[in-house]
């Protein structure tokens, strides 16, 4: 198959788009939309009107020094959501603030904390940020505000980079301690006796970027918070919890699950915004038979260039480091002769040194830097000011992430533009053809299951280490005695003569629990590129089979690594940094056996079930696929033992005989096989979008005749031991899944099935698309449409 990765421009066409002189954002956008080849690819163009600020005066109780500090910084009143949040915290309510990027979230928690410190310098606050960089950024901002208010506040980050001599000072004197969940888990909680000043006096706990605590990580963090609050209670403190989150479908529910407390939802944004154009772009289909599409990278470059030439500050997001480098190189080449120093266009990604990153952030704020090409490293709250244009080369994987990236463009007064360009993947295609998905209330949910037994038991060990349990004590879902007796069988805990449960082992349990994986046994990923090899990550055995097998390309913080060797016996994967233009995909051969049914209900055309399953997985070979085109450029064998995974699953069985006139339309067995697989793929895609997970987190198995139900069945199982609550939600959102899958396949331009809908065509004679649609139609509820899928 002959295919050009980056089609060259037609000079005529490009000239029409060129604008050299400085121009307004609106003007450039209007010119771009006159260009037929670009306009044709726009699937949706929404204009969000400008919004005025809704403000409220500073609360009367706010310390005069803080008011002065704010006024010095040019802040004379609060936005309505800030005022609401600050008042609620002052009244002792737990809150969750959900407002877009750059709406002044920091003040919502900074003001109550500053007020508490102004009233009582012995007060303490704990800030949790998901990443180190974010924590350091926020501590600087907070300290700046404290200084402006002429308050002496000791605010410090306590993370892996904090030098040992400074640590003890922070433990005893740090009034505001900024850290991340991993540090809290392994360094602060087990050593709580050294932190007693913090635990005794903590008034406010801030949990920022709540939506990032989902899946396995979120389930762990929920348990870390259970431990934290248990210790606070022991030391006699009862802190208020302030959460902030990007826009997701279930922020309040997630906050409850994470903290075990009910939070007041604050989501009426009072910050002003200029008008915004949001454009969804789907690069045209190049080959209807295979489903090959134009490159998102090329389109991103074509959209970015005219804005940059007109002097508009523009950010381009790429999904991987290699994508960033490609776009950056091409933008710089195109701009050199027109824009002076190339350094006005910069790259930004995880691997850069902190000083470099700070310089770029500063450059963006003061306008020195015109354009930046970034991985999602700039997605979270790092302060770069507001830009004119944000272009996303590929859907970032979640609606929340999309808005955070789009939100990088959005000035208070002027018009801004956000462009989302779809790649050829099924998830991208689904989102790009459902604009209401992005624009009308997010249907995606962050799911966690803090009661996953693998996770719960791991943290129960840690909690016992930190403080003995009284008989009948409750940790999370219920009394702990039975679970502790179970752990006691290994000898790690024991019940003493006073009835309490004590830790009774030499081990340090927190060091054995990684917050990133559910199962205790993990494969450690070791980067051998530097002189001193270092551990860059961990993955559970089940994922390791497909992620870090020998010769796999492993992606970590947008950097590609080649797995030189997977030592299965030692549970170690040795990797080194590479830059290649392909990724690897391992085929998993799976057999699945239902163990227990938790819930089962009849639905149109069959039955939906939620239950527990045993999955046996064997991985035998992998493919190398080229970025952008998914062209197969090689393969290799994998020699790993079979693994068993006990997890939860959602499945639906199809009843051929059910429904009016259905018996007449009998299926051929081969057709049914193709239909189940195609429909299953589409359902898997929709499920991944709805629950904010990678499609790989949901395994798909289809059986033409399931030994269990004796009927055609589609299983979606969670690729995490014990599951994290995804399947339960899928069971509930069944109708949305069916409707969404149908819409996804119908909207696809391909002839008879492609990787963006029903999966690659296995047999040119078979029309996977129509077969899958036939099956889905039979399972589609006849009454009104559920959810947002059309």
């Amino acid at each position: 198959m002959e295919q050009t990765f980056y089609p060259t421009f037609d000079p005529e066409e490009e000239r029409a788009v060129r604008t050299y002189a400085p121009a307004g954002t609106e003007t450039v956008l209007a010119r771009l939309l006159e260009e037929p080849s670009l306009a044709a690819a726009v699937t949706h163009h929404a204009t969000l009107p400008a919004r005025d600020a809704r403000t409220a005066p500073f609360p009367a109780w706010l310390d005069a020094r803080i008011v002065r500090g704010l006024e010095d910084r040019g802040i004379t009143s609060l936005y309505s959501h800030q005022a609401e949040a600050v008042e609620a915290v002052h009244a002792g309510e737990d809150i969750v603030v959900v407002t877009p990027t750059a709406s002044g979230k920091t003040l919502c928690y900074a003001l109550p904390v500053l007020q508490a410190l102004a009233e009582d310098p012995s007060a303490r606050a704990l800030f949790l940020f998901p990443t180190k960089a974010l924590g350091q950024d926020q501590v600087a901002e907070f300290a700046g505000l404290a200084k402006a208010s002429s308050l002496q506040v000791a605010a410090a980050t306590y993370d892996g980079d904090t030098p040992a001599p400074i640590r003890s000072a922070i433990r005893t004197a740090g009034q505001v301690v900024v850290t991340n969940p991993d540090m809290l888990h392994s360094a602060i909680l087990p050593h709580h006796t050294k932190w007693f000043q913090l635990f005794e006096q903590v008034r406010v706990i801030v949990i920022d970027e709540l939506h990032t605590y989902r899946g396995v990580f979120g389930s762990h963090v929920a348990n870390v918070l259970r431990r934290l609050l248990r210790l606070c209670a022991h030391y006699g403190s009862n802190p208020i919890i302030v959460c902030s989150s990007a826009t997701i479908g279930n922020p309040a529910e997630l906050a409850v699950q994470l903290t075990g407390r009910t939070h007041r939802l604050i989501d009426r944004n009072g910050a002003p915004a200029g008008a915004r154009h949001i454009l969804l772009v789907d690069p045209p289909l190049l080959d209807p038979a295979t489903g090959a599409r134009g490159s998102a990278l090329t389109h991103a470059e074509r959209w970015a260039l005219p804005f940059l030439r007109a002097g508009r500050q523009t950010i381009v997001f790429g999904r991987a480091r290699v994508a960033v480098e490609i776009i950056l190189t091409r933008l710089r080449e195109a701009l050199r002769e027109h824009l002076g120093p190339r350094s006005r266009i910069r790259g930004y990604r995880g691997g850069y040194l902190p000083t470099e990153r700070r310089a770029i952030e500063r450059g963006l704020r003061d306008g020195e830097i015109l354009g930046v090409v970034s991985t999602n490293a700039l997605e979270l709250g790092v302060d770069i000011g507001a830009l004119d244009v944000s272009i996303l080369a590929g859907y970032p994987g979640s609606v929340a992430g999309t808005w955070q990236q789009l939100g990088r463009a959005g000035r208070r007064q002027e018009t801004s533009v956000g462009v989302l360009i779809a790649s050829g993947s099924a998830v991208d295609q689904y989102v790009i053809h459902h604009p209401q998905f992005l624009l009308e209330g997010s249907p995606e949910e962050a799911r966690i299951d803090p009661d996953n037994l693998h996770v719960l038991l791991a943290h129960l060990r840690c909690a016992t280490f930190e403080r003995p349990f009284e008989p009948g004590d409750v940790f999370g879902p219920g009394p702990v005695d039975e679970l502790l007796a179970f752990i006691g069988e290994e000898g790690h805990v024991r019940q003493s003569s006073d009835g309490r449960w004590y830790w009774s082992s030499e081990n340090f349990p927190a060091s054995e629990v990684s917050l990133r994986t559910a199962a205790p046994e993990n494969v450690v990923i070791i980067d051998t590129t530097p002189d001193r090899p270092r551990v860059i990550g961990e993955t559970d055995l089940f994922s390791a089979q497909v992620l870090v097998h020998s010769q796999a390309i492993y992606l970590h913080e947008s950097q590609q690594y080649h797995v030189d060797k997977l030592d299965w016996g030692e549970r170690k994967a040795y990797v080194r940094k590479v830059d290649v233009d392909y990724y690897t995909y391992a085929n998993r051969a799976v057999t699945l056996k239902p163990l227990d049914v938790f819930a089962s209900e009849p639905v149109t055309g069959g039955r939906r079930v939620h239950g527990e399953v045993m999955v046996a997985s064997l991985v035998t070979l992998f493919k190398k696929l080229k970025f952008g085109t998914d062209e197969n450029v090689g393969w290799g064998p994998i020699d790993l033992p079979e693994l068993e995974l006990q997890t939860t699953a959602y499945w639906l069985t199809y009843d051929e005989a059910d429904g009016p006139g259905r018996a007449a339309a009998r299926w051929r067995k081969d057709d049914l096989d193709v239909a189940l697989l195609g429909a299953g793929r589409a359902i898997q895609t929709v499920a991944a979008v709805l629950l904010m997970v990678d499609p790989r987190d949901l395994g798909l198995v289809t059986q033409v005749r399931s030994p269990h139900s004796e009927a055609p069945t589609i299983y979606l199982y969670e690729a995490v031991p014990g599951g994290i609550g995804l399947s339960e939600r899928l069971f509930k959102r069944h109708e949305e899944l069916i409707a969404g899958a149908q819409a996804l396949i119908e909207a696809c331009d391909c002839d008879a099935g492609c990787p963006a809908c029903t999966g690659p065509r296995l047999d040119p004679e078979v029309n996977g698309k129509s077969l899958a649609l036939r099956l889905l139609a039979a399972m589609r509820a006849q009454r009104g449409v559920v959810g947002s899928a059309a």
Binding site: A164, P165, P190, H191, H192, T193, K194, F196, D451, L453, T464, F465, E466, R467, P468, P477, G478, E482, L483, A485, F486, G488, E489, E490, G491, R494, Q495, S496, S497, D498, R500, Y502, W503, S504, S505, E506, N507, F508, P509, L595, D596, F598, A599, E601, H610, E612, M614, Q646, G722, E728, F731, K732
Partner: protein, 549 residues
């Protein structure tokens, strides 16, 4: 919720899904643990096994073991002369704990606390042993009653481990840790003074290598936690007998070590008997407290007893100064890499955290390993430094010049020190240039011999350039001043070392002018000048010239 599956059902499925673990041995173990849990019968058996007394209090019970006291006289007044020692009238309490783990975190238990103190010239010892988790408050209360408010704790690695762990235990029990006046951790002292002749810094090595004691059938440290945890689970106190004896010996060794230090080192009169290396280490301890006079006395004593010392360390200096030293020095600047008992670990005397040692040329040359033997040149180096700190710059200069004669890396560095002294303290720029050139010559010789000192050479280049600039400035001002002074009187420069000022200035300018493009004339100048100041380097220069030529 439709599918709100209860924890019980999930737990049942979870257990069912595990590979058959819940059958067989562990179950049996758990049952046995059940029977044995902390009944008073268990505690009584424990007390009987370790030959102790079971003390019952309202907060629980503990086992008190008292060993017969031993004669161990110590002269506290004399001991207080040493650096870091408690005042003579403060009561001392030797303390050592046995624990269930190595982390000083919340879940680690100090199940045995050994205490020892002096009653006249006798050393008394008791031990407090915990029968069960639940009894901990009783043990902590008893321990607090033994710690006098005006007393000093004496421990081995207690600053980093035993005491923080006990503090954590008190906090866990909701109590404040007992107050005391000070804490003498003997580990840093042992590191400072004795590590040059010890295999490692563990207390067992102290006993064997300093006190000449051998323990028989001692229990290994790593075995101790599991012996206690097994007792908790299965109720068998037998294996703890060795642990109690081990702890008893540890506490007694704290007392013995203090006596050893008191007798051998506290009085300057006894220094002539001590190994030179010990004294050199002690000098460092004195110097760290700012007691430079005592440090100097210590070093002089060490150098006086040099003959035996150099017999012991017949290692050639050049072997110790292999080029990879620089690399080692960089590693050295990360003291946390080493386990606590390693002789290479930096001593921690408490107080404000110091900066990590910079891996500079000196640490590369003279102590790239903290446990490096105290060679004569290393002691002389130390002595010269202390002279400088005492403000005896002339003596310091002489000491460095003597070292400069030794050539090698140390000689090179000694000449650098001479240059610094002359420039900053003696106001002798000409001499400084001359010394810097001598250092450069030696550095080049080192390079010739395949032991290059690239960073030092670079630093020397910069130093010479800077000196050149200063000389030029000085010349300009002195020319002006001469014009003025010729009508006023004779100026007195602070400490001109070699020639009269105009001659020196001339030499300086020549030396500096020539040093940059070609080194040959500068060597001539340096050699000529060196001949006037110290005879030592001249020979080496001549030989060097021969090699270079």
């Amino acid at each position: 919720m439709t599918a709100a599956i209860g924890l019980e059902r999930r737990f049942a499925n979870f257990r069912a899904g595990l590979p058959a673990r819940s059958e067989g041995v562990p179950d049996q173990a758990a049952t046995r643990g059940w029977d044995a849990r902390g009944t008073s019968i268990g505690a009584e058996r424990l007390a009987a096994a370790v030959d102790g007394e079971l003390v019952r209090t309202s907060r629980g019970s503990f086992v008190r073991v008292e060993a017969p006291s031993t004669l161990l006289p110590v002269d506290r007044g004399r001991l207080a002369n040493l650096p870091g020692q408690p005042p003579a009238d403060a009561p001392l309490l030797c303390l050592d704990t046995e624990t269930t783990g190595l982390a000083t975190a919340a879940g680690t238990l100090a199940f045995l606390v050994g205490l020892g103190w002096w009653q006249g010239s006798r050393f008394r010892q008791i031990q407090l042993l915990l029968p069960d988790h639940a009894d901990e408050p009783a043990l902590l209360t008893e321990l607090a009653s033994h710690i006098p408010r005006d007393g000093w704790l004496v421990t081995y690695n207690g600053r980093g481990f035993d005491w923080p762990l006990l503090v954590a235990r008190y906090r866990m029990a909701g109590a404040n840790p007992p107050l005391h006046a000070g804490h003498l951790d003997l580990l840093p002292l042992v590191r400072r003074v004795f590590r040059h002749r010890m295999t490692d810094a563990r207390l067992a090595s102290v006993e064997a290598e300093l006190l000449g004691l051998r323990r028989h059938a001692d229990v290994a440290g790593w075995e101790i936690p599991s012996r206690y945890l097994d007792y908790l689970r299965f109720g068998e106190p037998g294996p703890l007998v060795d642990v109690v004896r081990h702890n008893d010996e540890d506490v007694r060794s704290l007392g013995r070590l203090l006596v050893h230090v008191d007798r051998g080192y506290a009085d300057a009169a006894s220094w002539s008997e001590a190994p030179a290396g010990d004294l050199a280490g002690l000098a460092r301890a004195f110097a760290q407290e700012g007691r430079n006079e005592s440090a100097l006395g210590c070093l002089d004593a060490a150098l006086a007893s040099k003959p035996q010392a150099s017999a012991v360390y017949s290692v050639r200096e050049d072997d110790l100064l292999a080029p990879e030293r620089a690399r080692l020095a960089i590693r050295e600047s990360r003291p946390d890499d080493e386990p606590w008992w390693s002789p290479r670990r930096a001593p921690d005397f408490g107080g404000r955290p110091g900066r990590y040692a910079v891996g500079d040329a000196w640490s590369a040359a003279d102590s790239s390993r903290r446990d490096a033997p105290w060679t004569e040149s290393r002691m002389l180096t130390e002595r010269a430094r202390i002279l400088r700190r005492l403000g005896r710059y002339r003596d310091a200069e002489a000491a460095w010049l003597a070292l400069g004669a030794a050539r090698g890396a140390i000689g090179t560095l000694a000449w650098v020190e001479v240059a610094k002294l002359r420039e900053h303290r003696l106001g002798d720029l000409a001499g400084a240039v001359e010394a810097a050139n001598a250092a450069l010559r030696l550095a080049e010789r080192q390079a010739w011999l395949g032991r290059p000192l690239p960073r030092l050479e670079l630093a020397l280049g910069l130093r010479l350039a800077r000196l050149g600039a200063r000389v030029a400035r000085r010349q300009a001002t002195s020319a002006t001043r001469r014009r003025i002074e010729s009508s006023v009187g004779t100026p007195s420069m602070p400490g001109p070392s070699t020639a009269s000022e105009p001659a020196a200035a001339e030499n300086m300018s020549r030396a500096v002018r020539s040093s940059a493009p070609s080194r040959a004339p500068s060597i001539a100048v340096a050699t000529r000048l060196a001949r006037k100041t110290s005879p030592a380097p001249v020979g080496s220069m001549a030989r060097l010239d021969g090699i270079a030529g």
